[in-house]
Symmetry: C3
């Protein structure tokens, strides 16, 4: 089914992405003082929701749900957060690094899967971005916040950039893992650059800024 990328590599990218996203969800739940079940659910939602939405939009049964390894990765992240949350929380920067790794892995794997199922390149880029940001959006909705990704910070743009690199490579006829890995790395770099320098996406069109 997956013709583009080495299946084992794709699986590992996805499992690692699920776990690190699960950590980011579980830590948000610990901060919001949810109970043990809430922490595990938030981990699972952030780790799995992006992939589930991706598969529903492609029109195939959600793979991440049928394969117990994804459930185990997301659940393990939740248990880690519940028991070690306050300790992990001190390493804010570490969590952002994990989250950026997950973003890079998911945007690339989402775009690759969309191409595998015959969607066009533009749709594949959008689907890659949705796979990357979907879990975090749902996390914010469940915690009753306007999704961060809609309000501030460079988050969706790195995901779209990473997905675009993977799609461009495939469109150029390459089936090697070079382009997807390059896309994931570029997404990670742009995201961390934005975190480091506190860059937000523009909130109003450039020409209006002078009139304030």
């Amino acid at each position: 089914m997956i013709a583009g990328l080495d299946p084992t590599l794709l699986l590992w990218l996805n499992l690692v992405g699920t776990f690190v996203f699960g950590l980011s969800g579980g830590l948000a739940a610990v901060r919001a003082q949810l109970d043990v079940f809430g922490v595990v659910v938030l981990s699972a939602v952030v780790g799995l929701a992006g992939g589930i939405v991706r598969d529903l939009l492609i029109g195939v049964p959600p793979e991440t749900f049928r394969d117990w390894r994804y459930l185990a990765a997301a659940g393990a992240a939740g248990v880690v957060c519940f028991f070690a949350g306050p300790a992990l929380d001190r390493f804010q920067r570490g969590v952002q690094v994990f989250d950026a790794v997950g973003l890079g892995l998911f945007c690339v794997s989402g775009a690759s899967k969309a191409l595998d199922f015959g969607l066009g390149p533009a749709q594949a880029v959008i689907l890659g971005a949705i796979t990357g940001i979907g879990g975090g959006m749902l996390r914010d909705v469940l915690l009753r916040e306007i999704p961060t990704v809609l309000r501030q910070e460079l988050y969706a743009i790195p995901a779209a950039v990473g997905a675009a690199v993977a799609v461009l490579g495939r469109e150029a006829g390459s089936l090697s893992p070079v382009f997807p890995l390059l896309g994931a790395a570029l997404c990670f770099a742009v995201r961390m650059f934005g975190v480091r320098y506190g860059i937000d996406a523009p909130r109003e069109p450039p020409r209006r800024r002078s009139s304030d």
Copy 2:
């Protein structure tokens, strides 16, 4: 696949509906001070979500996502809102008119598609209403508001009325576009009538009113 309505007409109804709904989503995002990405996402959500939910409930891969024209219509609405939002915002009434047009078009096309795929008439009316109001509900959830459609104004009722007209026509054996267009027009008229006279759906049963 689409036997009931002229496919080209159905496509155009859907594309125009997607664009005008996209405008309503994008303007809400501008008002909530989201960044450029948030504006485009809200446009896409309001423009596309109704149709995506409709297709998932029917059990087919979401058509609006595979067809780049829907993505382009929703994305264009977002870009227009980001650059011209404050100007558009002055024309509140204009936006409500657009929104009512979208509501009419979506409730009719949603009901028609449900019949095309063999759902019963009652399900088709409900699915038409969901197609019409789904995007707006998701918009309100993302902006952390209780969906307007659940609290006030005649919004779901016009959508159900329009869908019912389209379904009645089909049940009567007609495949002409007269009934769907009549349904869309009736939905538009009822909605604008409600806006004009500030009519809300009843909040408590009639017999209780005297006891207050």
Copy 3:
């Protein structure tokens, strides 16, 4: 399709569960002062959403939407709540009993359906729990609250316990309705025990409690 459980029994379990969950959704809507449409929609969401999410995660078209009897059960619950809501509201305990009955029925039927479609036992337990708690989570999101199930009370754990009993029975080779009914009863009992004694799921790991 349904090999495990007597189809008529499964249907009735599901219809009764849909109605009692619909009551719990409609009463929450009456309390939040939604209009008549909002009350019916909340009833439908809480009554139907768990099953719809279950079917989407399994990868089949949502059965509860195609079958008018589910729509009728959920809609009837909404109408009852709109007209008799304040009266019903006085019987808070009664509502919690209904809700616990629905939880028991849904977790068992969700797990059974997952097994029928070839998912593994762990996935079936999780899917059973999602079927039970999904509607209530969506109800809280629409009413702009952090889902109760994530914050307090024994709610997800009884659902998982009930689903596990049904799955264990099937894994042991039994196709009789004994295990599912036992699972539903056990879920109901654990849930009501939690309500009676006000037990919450733990909010922090046990070993940390002494350090506070």
